[in-house]
Amino acid sequence: MNRWDSIRQVSFAGGSLGLVTAVRVLRSAEVRPAGGDGDAFDTSVQLDRPAITVELATRSTDAAEALALGDAGELALTLEPARQGQPAREVRLAGAVLVGLELVYHQTVPAEAHLRFRIEAAGPGQDPFSAAEVTP
């Protein structure tokens, strides 16, 4: 069984985001409300507007400061393999839009930036999320 260990690199719109300490990818969709009384206890759940939210923490605040809300591009992260000879893992999120940027400057510990991205499918049946193994 393959396991992945740590973040090797993260890039957004072709630029490296540097010292990324954590990435949280949340894929979610709203549940479509029942149309009437007859649908209220329908056994099938229908989803509406699937979307992906990514929360990312980095210590490269200079890279974060250079970004602007609304910047868009592919968000890609590569994970280190947990054992020798195992391929790395790459997760790609197409069409990511920067919707939140929080910069925290501390007195005694390194400054941090928290970035939030929103990704929606370009069209019906299209999934902006993909993950695959990559050989070094």
Partner: protein
């Protein structure tokens, strides 16, 4: 010890030998003085096994203790020499944390992990002894 654990121990000894910094490297008993200085004595602290999260393999944790001993005419010089050798030994051990592909990072810890350094109590001046633990983790599939 499992064959993999024996291989890991051999790899640790090989990594220490490759530094060329020690006159003696081995597994002598704790009460026997090393035949030449500077020396590193590698001892087995423990070997534990637990089921892996996939249910199809076992996680092993091999704990070794390394005691590095050197001497010099003055205590301060012996300590300085021991610290310099300690840095070389630790760098050599971390150069390949996967121990030639035998160990791996697991949810229970890193492939190779070095513990804190403590001053050995068995050596008296002008000898100086520094000790630290080395933990190696590996996974073996159940047959």
């Amino acid at each position: 010890m499992t064959p993999t654990a024996t291989d890991i121990l051999d790899d640790v000894l090989t990594a220490l030998r490759a530094t060329g910094a020690f006159a003696w490297i081995g597994q002598a008993g704790p009460d026997q003085p090393p035949p030449a200085l500077p020396a590193v004595r590698v001892g087995l602290l423990g070997h534990t096994t637990q089921p892996a999260d996939d249910g199809a393999s076992l996680w092993h944790e091999l704990r070794l203790e390394l005691a590095l001993r050197t001497d010099a005419p003055r205590t301060a010089a012996a300590l300085g020499k021991a610290l310099e050798l300690l840095g070389r030994a630790r760098s050599a051990l971390l150069a390949d944390p996967f121990r030639g592909g035998r160990t791996c990072h697991l949810p229970i810890g890193r492939a190779t992990e070095l513990g804190p350094v403590v001053l050995g109590t068995q050596a008296r001046p002008p000898l100086c002894e520094l000790r630290f633990d080395l933990t190696c983790r590996y996974e073996e599939e159940l047959e």
